[in-house]
């Protein structure tokens, strides 16, 4: 069972979605499953949480979508745009910087 996500998770769904869509186009259900899988269930997003984020990213030009009929259902597949790739690079840098900073702080705190 995945643990509940702490409040400082804000912004993480966006980063994960952009990262996964950098590899290949996916639809909502597939994305939620992939997030569980790649994070080894450490991060479990609510099933409905990703749609507002996906629509927001699309509205801002970071994603584009297309409808595709699969097994009698019309799926909405999302993929990254140039703007989305730039956004991913920026978020990735921000994340590395924050992660490094927090790790350093925790280590120095532990040594104190």
């Amino acid at each position: 069972m995945a643990q509940s996500n702490p409040p400082f998770m804000s912004g993480v769904p966006e980063l994960l979605l952009l990262r996964l869509l950098h590899e290949q186009e996916m639809y909502g259900y597939e994305l939620v499953r992939s997030i569980k899988q790649v994070t080894k269930e450490a991060i479990s997003l609510g099933e409905g949480v990703i749609y507002p984020v996906l629509h927001s990213l699309e509205r801002n030009g970071a994603l584009k979508s297309r409808r595709k009929a699969v097994s009698g259902r019309t799926r909405v597949y999302y993929s990254l745009t140039k703007k989305g790739r730039d956004r991913l690079a920026k978020l990735r840098n921000d994340w590395s910087r924050i992660q490094g900073g927090v790790a350093t702080a925790l280590e120095s705190g532990a040594n104190a």
Binding site: Y29, E47, V49, P52, H55, R73, T74
Partner: protein, 141 residues
């Protein structure tokens, strides 16, 4: 948990200011997501009823979903994004359009207006003919 009412969700999204495009598309995606969850639960061996209940629980409450959507300002109509502006622009737009409304109404109901026009013209002709006959009968005596 009850089965999700997607029609009600669409109505609530629209009421919270989400654009019709995003509201309807999200509801369709969420409905497909729910169906996928049901299929996955059935594949795991759950009965149809339990699978639907489990899928509804995993999907979360519709209240939470509306709150999450409404938190994204860019998904809202401009009137909800700029309410102060809408309060000024809407009445001004109405005032500007008001004088042209009879013309627009005439264009929209042109077939009815033409029918009425032809009827009135016909009635006027019949009346004029009758008056002419009466005048002639008086004159010619």
């Amino acid at each position: 948990m009850r089965e999700p009412d997607f029609n009600d969700l669409a109505a609530r999204l629209l009421k919270s200011g989400i654009t019709p495009y995003h509201a309807h598309r999200t509801v369709n995606e969420l409905r497909d997501h729910y169906d996928d969850l049901v299929d996955a639960a059935v594949d795991d061996g759950a009965s149809s009823k339990i699978a639907r209940r489990r899928a509804a629980t995993e999907l979360g409450t519709m209240e939470d979903f509306v709150t999450q959507m409404a938190a994204h300002r860019e998904l809202k109509t401009w009137a909800f994004r700029y309410p102060q502006l809408a309060v000024v622009v809407y009445p001004l737009a109405c005032l500007a359009i008001l004088p042209a409304m009879p013309v627009f109404a005439g264009i929209a109901h042109r077939t009815t207006l033409m029918r009425w026009g032809i009827s009135l013209l016909g009635a006027a002709l019949v009346t004029a003919m009758m008056m002419l006959v009466m005048q002639l009968s008086i004159i010619l005596g």
